[in-house]
């Protein structure tokens, strides 16, 4: 029998042992990887180094340019803005690590598969916490360093700061990252004592995905053409306002700039204060971890039990919903699978984020479409009349293109992952007497019904507000329905080809290139089918033919093409289905 290790004396060696285990797993993975993967890793490493060098050179040149006397003569003294750059970066680093670490630490501290093993081993809880914390923040910290270090070093070189500035940049960045991650860890430990960890992870995933999507798309609502120089000036002033002496986050930046300028007293005191505060925060985190981590982990089961009791007391199992409509059908496998899929999609937050994104995009495009008004800008009037007529006819179908794009996003999730979302539970359907045709029909309907609903709602709202020709509106409805049907077939076929039925994380429902290929093919399919549907209708007036004839021809041509695209790929799905889930 070996003696148990004493908790405190062996903390860091134990942390290193746990970290070394991860390192070993990584090295083994690299060693056993295929040559192609190793080459890709090598190229990626070279690219990262190249990016670091380029970003450093660019920052150096730009910052040097900002501090040039010629530019100062034009825009005034830029020194306060330049000296605020470190404070801005450190503030961004701290908040960035704090926000991103929450989800990562929640996963690492409470939902990782190795927790039972680690907590049953003779390892102090503090060592487990520290190793998990370091593992969790390392990727985000690396990413932040990739962008922050070249800028901060570029500032140092361009402003000719003293040599002490450079190592301290790395030290303070690391200290801030550790303090932020520590705070995030404390928050995680507190939250998990109240809410179930898995539920929190789902909510975090949902909020994170929606927030990043809204941020990325909100730029489309901005009117960049109307940006005034005063607004740019205000934005720069905001940067200098961050550099206030009252903010502990600004102390690090101010201290570093002072050290760089050889103002030793201010530099040492501010940098020292930063490191002291970071150390204190991290210390409090470690002490808190000792008290909160294990008890939080141990009480996870109790939280689940409480939640169950509450739900029973409320007596609310389900409320009437879109999914419940299918429950009232004559019992059979088809509505049962549809009902089950809608319930699962609605209840799993991780799915909801993917489903809500098209709604947000639809709203943004709707606002953009409304802003553009009914009148078409025809430039300086130099275009030939037939081109003007062509553009005018085509513009009547602009909302269709946007509706299809919004629908495409939803369809990619619902059809592309239709079979893969069954995952390890697929055995329930596969061992039941459910024919492949019924399974395909169920997945087809699960994908197409919400997409049609979204697209039709978009078209109806646009029509109600813009009051376009009703015949054109009525023509677009079957055209859009058929177009989406074709795309559903394509997405189902590529989805099943790359389905990974043994996923644990929903982001891993697909493997290989099938998903990318499916997106590419479906993206090529849309313009082609739209050209067949709407081309004759747009061209008819140019040849003095009735619009109705053009629309009819379009429906015929596009309809045949779309139906072929819907049915032929489904034959591939039918052939693949008996083998689904075998590996």
């Amino acid at each position: 029998m070996s003696d148990p290790p004493s908790a405190d004396s062996k903390l860091w060696p134990l942390v290193w042992k746990l970290l070394r285990l991860r390192l070993l797993i990584f090295i083994n993975g690299f060693r056993r990887a295929r040559l192609r993967a190793k080459i890709i890793w090598g190229i990626a490493a070279i690219l990262v180094l190249g990016f670091l060098g380029f970003a450093f050179f660019l920052s150096w040149t730009l910052l040097h340019f900002f501090s040039s006397p010629e530019l100062s003569a034009l825009i005034g003294d830029a020194t306060p803005v330049l000296e605020s750059v470190p404070a801005l970066i450190f503030t961004g680093t701290f908040i960035g690590i704090l926000v991103t670490s929450f989800g990562v630490l929640l996963q690492a501290l409470y939902l990782a598969g190795d927790m039972d093993f680690l907590l049953s081993a003779p390892v102090p809880i503090r060592a487990v916490f520290l190793s998990k914390l370091l593992q969790a923040i390392l990727p985000n910290f690396g990413l932040i360093c990739l962008f922050a270090l070249p800028v901060l070093f570029g500032l140092g070189v361009s402003s000719k700061y003293s040599f002490l500035y450079y190592p301290l940049v790395v030290l303070i960045l690391s200290a801030l990252a550790l303090a932020a991650a520590g705070l995030a860890g404390l928050l995680v430990m507190l939250v998990v004592r109240v809410f179930p960890a898995r539920r929190v992870a789902e909510v975090i995933g949902f909020i994170g995905a929606i927030t990043s999507f809204i941020c990325s798309q909100s730029g489309q609502l901005a009117r960049w053409g109307e940006l005034r120089s005063e607004q740019a000036q205000q934005a720069l002033e905001l940067v200098t306002r961050l550099n206030t002496p009252w903010s502990p986050l600004a102390w690090a930046g101010r201290g570093l700039v002072s050290l760089g300028k050889a103002d030793w007293l201010a530099g040492v005191s501010l940098s020292g204060a930063t490191l002291l505060v970071c150390g204190l925060v991290f210390g409090v985190t470690l002490v808190g971890a000792e008290r909160l981590y294990y008890t939080g982990w141990a009480s996870m089961q109790n939280i689940q039990r409480r939640r169950k009791v509450n739900r029973r007391q409320n007596g609310a199992s389900t409320f009437p919903s879109f999914a419940a409509v299918f429950q009232n059908w004559q019992p059979s496998a088809l509505p049962a699978i549809i009902h089950k899929d809608f319930l699962s999609l609605r209840r799993d937050m991780r799915n909801m984020s993917q489903l809500v994104m098209p709604l947000i995009l639809g709203l943004i495009y709707f606002i953009m479409l409304m802003r553009s008004g009914n009148e078409l800008s025809l430039g300086r009037g130099e275009a030939p009349p037939f081109v003007v007529d062509l553009i005018r006819s085509a513009s009547a179908y602009a909302s269709v293109g946007l509706a299809l794009f919004v629908g495409w996003m939803l369809l990619s999730r619902l059809a592309g992952m239709g079979f893969a979302q069954e995952g390890k539970s697929y055995w329930l359907i596969k061992t039941a007497p459910v024919s492949p045709l019924k399974q395909i029909a169920a997945k087809f309907l699960v994908a197409i019904l919400p997409t049609l609903g979204l697209c039709f709602a978009f078209l109806l709202l646009t029509w109600l507000i813009k009051r376009n020709d009703i015949l054109t509106f009525l023509f677009t409805l079957p055209a859009v329905a058929l177009c989406i049907a074709g795309n559903t077939g394509i997405q189902l076929a590529f989805g099943i080809a790359g389905a990974n039925m043994s996923w644990d994380n929903p982001q891993h429902m697909q493997r290989g290139l099938s998903s990318c290929l499916g997106s590419l093919v479906s993206m090529l399919y849309y313009p082609l089918s739209m050209a067949l549907f709407f081309g004759p209708a747009i061209a008819a007036p140019l040849f003095n033919l009735p619009l109705l004839a053009g629309q009819f021809a379009g429906l015929l041509l596009g309809g045949v093409f779309s139906l072929a695209c819907a049915v032929v790929p489904l034959a591939l799905v039918y052939a693949r289905l008996p083998r689904l889930g075998e590996n």
């Binding site: 739900r311 049962a336 089950k340 699962s344 596969k430 061992t431 039941a432 007497p433």
Partner: protein, 256 residues
């Protein structure tokens, strides 16, 4: 009592994964009213055989009949006759226990009222009524295992295939399973179960099949197995003698 109508019949069953043969030339019958135990060391091919019986895997060669229907040629009829409990109860995590049972009832084409009645009976039987409206992701492993068992029984199958059914169950639930299986067999169902617990196999099963390295090396009643193994007393001795695990006793002696 077992009769001579086979409800499960495998003929020269083969399954290859790439170059590796997981199951080789496995043939056996399981009759009406019979509990058939399927034993073998880890990686012997038990789960692969079971997955071919219930239609989860397609055999490389050979055929499987369930309830008189060929699983490859008449899959819907064969599947309608059988119920399956996997070794790991992967169930839809976002459905409640009650919803899952009704879903399975719908898959097997049960009338709504019948499905509801059966679901409630099984929830009560397996002591799951209290948690019936909670989503399955909040269930413990044992509760999930019991839910999987209930799901396999919703349509009252003629053939029940169970892969390690008692793993993760408390003694009360394990006893309930054993009683249920015996009752089902007495009503004429064929029960096929794989287990590592030799005591269960010895006490419950009418006949036992032992598979090793993909080959069925022995099939018969306990008495027949004893006779073939030149009078070895317990199933454990017979099993270790056939699958080559007897030498581990010497290693255990060395480690003492």
């Amino acid at each position: 009592m077992p009769t001579h109508t086979p409800l499960i019949s495998t003929q020269h069953l083969y399954k290859k994964f790439g170059e590796k043969a997981a199951v080789q030339d496995v043939s056996f019958d399981v009759y009406e009213g019979e509990i058939f135990g399927f034993l073998g060391p880890n990686g012997a091919g038990k789960t692969t055989t079971i997955k071919m019986i219930v239609g989860l895997l397609q055999p490389t060669a050979g055929s499987v009949k369930v309830g008189g229907y060929d699983v490859q040629l008449q899959p819907l009829q064969a599947k309608a006759a059988s119920g399956y409990v996997p070794d790991e109860p992967h169930l839809y995590p976002k459905l409640t226990g009650r919803e899952l049972l009704r879903f399975v009832g719908d898959l097997y084409g049960l009338q709504r009222q019948q499905a509801n009645r059966r679901s409630e009976e099984l929830l009560r039987l397996f002591d799951l009524s209290q948690a019936a409206d909670d989503t399955i992701d909040s269930y413990s492993h044992g509760m999930q295992q019991k839910t999987a068992l209930a799901a396999a029984l919703v349509h009252d199958p003629k053939v029940l295939v169970l892969d390690e059914p008692t793993v993760g169950l408390d003694p009360k639930s394990a006893r309930l399973i054993k009683d249920l299986l015996r009752q089902m067999a007495e009503r004429g169902a064929a029960i096929f179960l794989s287990t590592h617990i030799l005591e269960i196999a010895e006490r419950m099963c009418d006949r036992i099949g032992i598979i090793n390295q993909g080959r069925l090396i022995s099939v018969g009643t306990m008495d027949e197995l004893r006779g073939a193994a030149s009078g070895e007393a317990s199933l454990e001795d017979i099993f270790l003698g056939l699958t080559g695990g007897a030498e581990y006793a010497e290693i255990a002696e060395v480690l003492k």
